[in-house]
Amino acid sequence: MMLVVVLFGLLVAFTSRWTVFEADSLRDNSANRRPLLEEQRIPRGRILASDGRTVLAESFATGSGSRRVFTRRYPEGTVFSHPIGYSFIDRGRAGLERSRNDALTGESSEFATILDEITSAGREGDEVRTTLDPGGTRAAIQALGGRKGAVVALEPDTGRVRVMVSLPQFDPNQVPEGFARLVRDSDAPLLNRATQSTYPPGSTMKVVTAVAAIDSGRYTPDSVVSGKSPKDISGVPLSNCCGEGTGNFGPLTLTQALTNSVNTVWAEVAEKLGRDTMVRYMKRFGFYEDPPLDYPDAQLAPSGVFNREGDLVDDGFDVGRVAIGQGGAEGQMRATPLQMAMVAGAVANRGKLMKPRLTERIVRQDGRIRERVEPEEASEVMKAETADRIKAMMAGVVSQGTATAAQLPGGVAGKTGTAEVEAGENNQVWFIALAPLERPRYAIAVTVERSQGQGGSVAAPIAKQVLQSLLRG
């Protein structure tokens, strides 16, 4: 009898082991399909645009009784494909569907009680209200006009991402059937170019260099520098011929050097500042790590200087060429559109970089607010005076420099960029901007892949249209 008690005790012990002590690791086991199957039985919460009316994702039921399962539907089709992502049982999840999965499935709610555990029936997902602006998003898609590229617009003082568009887009409703085709597509429609693609930022990087130069106290906007070309940078001659600023300049101020985007000036300034100072300011802007966005880690890429192996390096590179958004064999400057929008945002918010975010708030089915995402400061990049000076310099770029195509009532400050990808042929064109000049409400980054034109002629008009739409709304 004692033996039976011992044996049965063993049974209880092992049952406890699986149900309690090792339950979590069993649930996380990749061979365990139960969590997925069970989530199918939960109506995921809706995802809404910032207006609270436009439904970006919703669930509908099929089957009945114990066979009742919920499937996702995306009423806006391709429009919000990248920020929202998708969630399907066979295809997994991406975008906000992934990063806000716990809320959308009603999990880890702080209001959960043991009573909920026992009854456990009728679990419902919470609703996610995003920061995304439908008008601005549509304007960006229209302005890109089918060209591959990305647009990110955010509110500098809150970090709210109002527009995140990456072209080509995909229709999340097609993901269950067309997944293989989407994965194979050479245009990589599933790739979020706004957060995952790192491009040479070209002359938009000069904003970072200018911040480093002025905030470190070594230069002022009125410092006079030599604009001669060519100039030896890291022992190799650099000229102004092939970028936007062309030709040989005489002595000029930093403001003038930014307005005309003079490569040799900024390369020389960066060499004088040194790699350490440049890297320090890049890191303050958020380079060298994934942006703190509420988005899946797997879909966020860091920006910075990459060596040939694709690893980030913070030493040994050609700082002069990095400072103008290019680089050399030891290290190539690359940045995501999101990162460049953050650069503009930090300038617009008087030096304070806010954490970018896609979620406004999370609301329970009964209407109670489960979580309100408050603005949060990521870092103090520069002094407020520095930011004001940089903004004034960038205003010059739009009023009389390379970006006159972006002019709007209320004023715009910006910086163009044109990085050669293939000699003389295709350019990665950029424009980063903030508007309006007094109390900027929006910061924006626009990039277009393999363009024949220049940042000022291609990217600046796109930014103008998006900003127009946002400022109107």
Binding site: M1, L7, A31
Partner: protein
């Protein structure tokens, strides 16, 4: 309160469980309760009441808890099976009725268990034949790598379920006769005569392990044998030696015989990526189901059983893996309650053994109870990965006619034994037990 009144009261929780359980399952299924639940509960309870009246008439002094405990388990099993597969629950209910009928028949036919002692060799032969029959060409069928079933025309049954009763009866009577020899043997002079029975049974267990391919039954029989040996001789050394032999044999075959080795490998690491969707699938899914249960379970009728395609996620959910579903739906607490119920049943069985006055009765009660308890251990232990998983039913609960009927015969034997033992005690003491 008389023993029979206690038995009657014991049936009240059973009826509550049946009605409540069916209601819970139906609520989650159709969201409205119809009178089916009441009908099911009433029929089930009617059968139990009839059996109770019969016991009252023929075995007035039998243990009052055995029958309600068995009915409780059977009721629980019916609800679980109904929840998994309605059609199978219907079959199981019919078999339940048959089982009760066989219980009645056994008691009528076998007023007294002692004649069994006289036919021990006949019974032993029948038992061995039953155990071997699945291996016979034309009769046996292989299920999941083990030879367990026999099909005779449309009827297919698992003879091991009945074989186990025959073997226990034989061992009890055999050990009753030879215990003197076994007890007298002292270590310096232990001869083949003393160890003979031990070796024979050990050999039989190993034979089953390798040729019937059924570690579970092998462990069950040998464990029951050791329990009998201990009760017969009161010598721990023999029992320990026997256990050592079994362990050594099992270890040896696990290393040398391919299919035994496979089972052990699956047991040690079911999550190996090469196995988890093949041989390891069943045990892995069983553990996943239990992990989902947690402390309180998902609730009656809430467990996830099907893939979206309608295929079952848990293989053999209504037989081998029914315990995993119990854990999934009722959680650790429900599982503990279930194990406690089995423990109470075993306690009543062993109590019958201690009350019995003659050696054969003592041994028979011990053997029957031990084989019952070990069967629970083998299947629940398999499902919870205490030991390698083998296909044995969970007594009174799993779907399966042979198992349910054999266990009702086992219950009948225990009832006869306890009736006898308690009456003898009562007469000796001159009072009512």
């Amino acid at each position: 309160m008389s023993p029979r009144a206690r038995e009657l009261f014991g049936l009240i929780p059973v009826s509550l469980l049946v009605t409540g359980g069916f209601t819970a399952v139906l609520i989650t299924r159709t969201e409205d309760v119809n009178n089916v639940t009441i009908t099911y509960g009433a029929i089930f309870l009617g059968c139990c009441l009839a059996a109770h009246l019969f016991i009252r008439a023929r075995l007035p002094d039998a243990d009052p808890y055995l029958f309600p405990l068995a009915a409780l388990l059977a009721a629980f099993g019916l609800v679980m099976i109904y929840r998994i597969d309605e059609a199978k629950a219907g079959e199981q209910a019919v078999v339940f009725g048959l089982g009760l009928g066989l219980l009645v028949a056994t008691v009528l036919f076998l007023r007294d268990h002692r004649p069994l002692e006289r036919y021990r060799y006949t019974i032993a032969l029948a038992g061995i034949a039953l155990l071997l029959s699945p291996r016979l060409p034309g009769l046996g069928e292989q299920v999941n790598g083990a030879y367990l079933g026999v099909s005779l025309g449309p009827i297919s049954f698992q003879p091991a379920e009945f074989g186990k009763l025959a073997i226990v009866i034989f061992l009890a009577s055999y050990l009753e006769e030879t215990r003197e020899v076994l007890v007298r043997g002292r270590l310096p002079r232990v001869s083949l005569k003393h160890l003979g029975p031990l070796l024979v049974v050990w050999g039989a267990a190993m034979f089953m392990l390798v040729f019937i391919r059924d570690l579970g039954s092998s462990l069950m029989f040998f464990g029951a044998f050791l329990a009998l040996l201990y009760v017969a001789t009161a010598r721990v050394s023999l029992t320990v030696a026997g256990f050592g032999m079994f362990a050594a044999g099992a270890w040896f075959f696990a290393r040398t015989v391919g299919h035994v080795q496979d089972r052990v490998d699956v047991w040690l690491d079911p999550f190996d990526p090469a196995r988890v969707d093949a041989e390891g699938y069943q045990i892995a899914q069983s553990l996943f189901a239990q992990a989902d249960g947690g402390l309180f379970g998902q609730g009656f009728g809430q467990a996830l059983l099907e893939l979206p395609s309608g295929a079952s996620i848990l293989p053999a959910a209504e037989t081998d893996l029914i315990y995993a579903i119990v854990v999934n739906e009722l959680g650790l607490f429900g599982a503990c309650a279930l194990i406690l119920t089995y423990l109470l049943f075993a306690a009543r069985g062993f109590r019958t053994a201690t009350l019995s006055s003659d050696g054969f009765s003592k041994l028979l009660a011990t053997g029957l109870t031990a084989v019952f308890a070990l069967q629970v251990f083998v299947i629940v232990g398999g499902v919870t990965r205490v030991i390698p998983l083998t296909g044995v039913t969970l007594p009174f609960i799993s779907f399966g006619g042979s198992s349910l009927i054999a266990n009702f015969v086992l219950l009948a034997l225990l009832l006869i034994l306890s009736d006898r033992a308690r009456r003898d005690r009562g007469l000796l003491k001159g009072g009512v037990v």
